[in-house]
């Protein structure tokens, strides 16, 4: 699992999941794209240590750490913060896709509802209800027990239900 082709496959398979994870947290289509690139640059740099059986969990962990680093740095937007990436070529975005997201009212509503959730509940909601991972898989990624995942998912859904009701 060391070749460029393998990495390309992994990127095409998982980059949307990572993008969604970051987008739901950040609610910024451009910033999410920047951080997805950062996550996969980190993955590529450590590609030799990659364990094929845990790719998804590994990528989510990198994404979570990148997100935490971002919150810590308190930067509104990491424009060209990725040195290596900036060296290679300018950052680019899928403009059409981003426009679509911005126009989509359903996504806007959901974003608003999710925004008020604490990070832990957001994590569980994304992994369980957007990415359809099992409680066990979500627990592994978030380093919490399966039971804890179920408790958090219930809390997240209850809160979201209330928020959506109030909006109506």
């Amino acid at each position: 699992m060391n070749s460029k082709n393998d990495f390309e496959e992994i990127y095409i398979q998982y980059s949307d999941k990572i993008y969604r994870f970051l987008y739901v947290h950040l609610q910024d289509a451009y910033l999410s794209e920047d951080l997805v690139s950062e996550v996969f640059i980190k993955a590529w740099k450590n590609w030799k240590n990659f364990k094929p059986d845990f790719i998804q969990a590994w990528l989510y962990k990198i994404a979570n750490n990148t997100l935490i680093d971002f919150y810590r740095s308190k930067k509104e937007k990491k424009k060209v913060s990725i040195e290596d990436y900036a060296e290679s070529e300018e950052l680019s975005y899928d403009r059409e896709f981003i426009e679509e997201i911005h126009k989509n009212e359903e996504i806007k509503k959901l974003n608003k509802a999710i925004e008020s959730l604490p990070k832990k509940l957001k994590d569980v909601a994304i992994l369980r209800f957007i990415e359809n991972l099992s409680a066990k898989e979500a627990g592994k990624i978030l380093k919490i027990s399966e039971v804890n995942v179920r408790v958090l998912q219930h809390r997240a859904l209850s809160k979201l239900k209330e928020i959506i009701k109030n909006e109506k």
């Binding site: 460029k4 990495f7 390309e8 990127y11 095409i12 980059s15 949307d16 993008y19 969604r20 987008y23 739901v24 690139s37 996969f40 640059i41 590529w44 740099k45 450590n46 590609w47 030799k48 290596d84 990436y85 060296e87 290679s88 070529e89 680019s92 899928d94 059409e96 896709f97 997201i101 359903e106 996504i107 959901l110 999710i114 909601a125 369980r128 209800f129 957007i130 990415e131 359809n132 409680a135 179920r150 408790v151 998912q153 219930h154 859904l157 209850s158 979201l160 239900k161 959506i164």
Partner: protein, 222 residues
Amino acid sequence: MKNNFRQDLLEEIKDQASEKEAEELLEVAFKLNNLSAIRRSYNFKKAQVKKIISVKPQKRSFFAFPKILIPVFAALVLLLGSSTMVLAQKSLPGSTLYPVKRLSEDMIVKINPNFKQEIIQRRLEEEKEIKKAENHAGKEKDIIEEKSATTEAKEKNEIKTESQGSKKEIEETKEEKKIEDKENNNQVKGAEDKKDKSNENKSNVNHGNENKENKNAEKPEK
């Protein structure tokens, strides 16, 4: 959302809520699942990954260790360095730490030139200590030689006495053997003599009988 996943989720939610509430929560989960439709185009992803791959993968160098360990490592180096410096101050010419002592002195002199006098005193003290050590070593040598001489003499005496004792023992055993041999010979001789005597007696008796018979035989002829 797949049917199986929906069913499993409903059962999970039912554990913590009533059936009605569980259905409502499931609807919320369904709405959230709409966000999974967020997907970038395939061509965009292809282009992005090529850019990422153009970044060189990191090679693990020997010195690449966690940044957290750097202060610990630095503290260890400082501790080891300072402790060797302190230990080196008691060293004398000829010991392995002496060059360290000289080096530290040179460094101090560079900072404080007045330290030269202290260095001269140190050299004198070193000389004294070396002399002391030599004298001590000489005395020790004498003592050791004396001890070795006495022990050698003792050993020789012991060997002599042992050898003499063994000679005596050998002679005594020889004498004992001689006496035993003699006794044996005497016993054998005695036994032989007895045998001879008994034989003689027997032969005498036989002769007597024969003579008697001869006499008796001669008598009727008369």
